[in-house]
Amino acid sequence: MKIVVCLKQTFDTEAKITINADGKINDQGVSLIMNPYDEFAVEEALRIKEKDGGEVTVISVGGAKAQDALRQALAMGADNAVLITPELEVMDEYATATILAKAIEGMEYDLILGGFRAIDDGSAQVAGRVAEILGLPVVNVVTKLEVADGKALATREIEGGSEVVEVPLPAVITAQKGLNEPRYPSMKGIMKAKKKPMDKKGLADLGLEPAAVAAKVTALSYFLPAPRAAGKIIPGEPAEAAVALARALREEAKII
């Protein structure tokens, strides 16, 4: 089984988000991690490899620092890593997906895995776009995956429950929390990772012109949400308090 896992390096879940003087999100000195949903994808790929044999390639679009996330995946047990650094001022999901799809197109694969969304941009689009470009079926928010006889049996979350979907391989599957418990890299794994291939490519290596991956969506501005105000406790007898609460929800919070 040849498995390709798309992963992204994101801000740490604990990182403080600030806007800098240029109105952009400040990334100086921010702690970076492998996107937690992508960790589930890497772990699942490794489990399939351990069960059925094969090879796991991890791929990421990012800057030089993304090598740390790729190296972590290699230390967990992935076999090869590919880093694509497009050196574009502005990227959007279309650009990322186009680049990933182009790189994956040149690889042999039976299965493509990824996290269902990244915890920084949170768009949940890239894997779906990659599937569309490559003409593959995609199943999202998967909490259980079985792969056999050229098919994948994926359990995915739906409103109020879950459904089991069968798709022929190759397919794109995105991981949801609960799919598995990712392993810690072992010390031996960390040492072995040093010797595994870490292929670095630019747009030219993929035969892509910058114009072909120009962002179609641009962010106009970034702003921080209003700081959370203190909660309000509504006193009184339940029946009266409920009336006061309903009024507050309608007139103050404006959510009903």
């Binding site: 740390d68 230390a75 810690y184 072992s186 010390m187 960390i190």
Partner: protein
């Protein structure tokens, strides 16, 4: 001089930090309260390869360097000093002398399971009347045919009771003093080897500290580690390296306490503002952070020297001396910053302060460290 970790060291640091935060930290308070270690943590550490970090892969180790080992002990100690000393005593005090002085047979039989973590190790050196005066051990080893017969007691043995393999320093010829000593590898369960008292301690309460009792305990001749007469020398060489592990533990304790105090100072409000808005507290935090960085550089440098096969006795003594005194000072300040809450067991800093004290005492008291440093300066 390069003040940057390699990519592997950074990944190890992150991995152990994540493991410590997610798996060890949630258990630390309860283990301390009950004076009971949760051995499932040891199994997890063995699986990750944390139980034999600096030993070659041929002997079941991770094949990493001493700096990586020091970083691992530091990260574990940041959340649980008992876990830090468990790994440090096992690796530096038991596995290392076998690696350094053992025969190939001894290494295959003992070092491999120790490095793989299927067995736990300990060093039996200290006796009721032989602490700083480690050369005056009274436990005797008398040759008898194919065996040596051991008689005596050891106290304050870290990992005692639970460890499977013990390196015991014995007197083989009283008339020659410390030149009449030898080291032996003794397995738990050997007839004549039992455990006495379990110590109830101020800190590192989840670390098992036991008395070892030897009554006509017969040990095969092949279990002598190194040569007869080398026992004390082996012990001193072992402690030189063990010092780096303890220095790393102290550094971790200090860093952990500082992290807690820094966060708390930003949240706790008095007089309408966070206490960190007060210059007095800012200066306290600045001093704590600076001393911790100094300790870190001393510890990492000692490990670096060892990795580069350069003499490290003076530097490891400096690292242990400074890091342990730093840990005691920083944890005390941390409790101060937490105020009344810091004195309760609801918050972890009182445990860290109780844990810090022993780092000034074991594996060579601060006084002994000063003797070692001065001896190096005046030679």
């Amino acid at each position: 001089m390069i003040f940057k970790l390699t990519e592997e060291q950074e990944l190890l640091q992150k991995t152990v930090r994540d493991f410590a935060r997610e798996e060890v930290a949630p258990k630390a308070a309860e283990m301390d309260e009950k004076e009971e270690y949760d051995w499932s943590l040891w199994d997890k550490m063995a699986e990750m390869g944390l139980t034999g970090i600096p030993f070659p892969e041929d002997y079941g180790g991770a094949g990493m360097d001493n700096l990586s080992y020091a970083i691992a002990v530091e990260e574990l100690s940041r959340v649980c000093a008992s876990t830090g000393v468990l790994v440090s005593a096992h690796t530096s005090l038991c596995s290392w002398p076998i690696y350094q002085f053992g025969t190939e047979e001894q290494k295959q039989k003992y070092l491999v399971p120790l490095a793989e973590g299927t067995k736990i190790g300990a060093l039996g050196l200290t006796e009721p009347s032989a602490g700083s005066d480690a050369g005056s051990v009274k436990l005797t080893a008398v040759p008898d045919g194919d065996e040596y017969v051991l008689n005596g007691t050891k106290i304050f043995i870290t990992n005692g009771g639970r460890a499977d393999i013990y390196v015991i320093i014995a007197s083989t010829d009283k008339s020659r003093g410390h030149r009449g000593t030898a080291a032996f590898i003794v397995e738990k369960g050997t007839p004549g080897f039992t455990f006495g008292k379990k110590e109830h301690k101020m800190g590192i309460r989840a670390s098992y500290t036991y008395e070892l009792v030897f009554e006509n305990c017969r040990v095969p001749k092949e279990n002598m580690l190194g040569q007869d007469g080398q026992g004390f020398k082996i012990a001193l060489a072992t402690l030189d390296g063990g010092r780096i592990g303890i220095a790393a533990q102290a550094l971790g304790i200090a860093q952990g306490a500082f992290d807690q105090a820094l966060e708390y100072s930003k949240i706790r409000e008095q007089f309408g503002k966070p206490i960190s808005a007060n210059q007095g507290l800012q200066w306290m935090l600045a001093d704590m952070a600076t001393r911790i960085e100094a300790a870190r550089l001393l510890v990492y440098r000692a490990a670096y020297l060892k990795d580069n096969h350069q003499p490290y006795g003076k530097e490891s003594a400096m690292a242990k001396l400074y890091a342990s005194e730093c840990a005691m000072w920083v944890t005390t300040k941390a409790v101060q910053i937490f105020g009344g809450y810091g004195y309760t067991r609801e918050y972890p800093v009182e445990r860290m302060m109780r844990d810090a004290k022993i780092t000034e005492i074991y594996e060579g008291t601060s006084e002994v460290q000063r003797i070692v440093i001065a001896a190096n300066l005046l030679k």
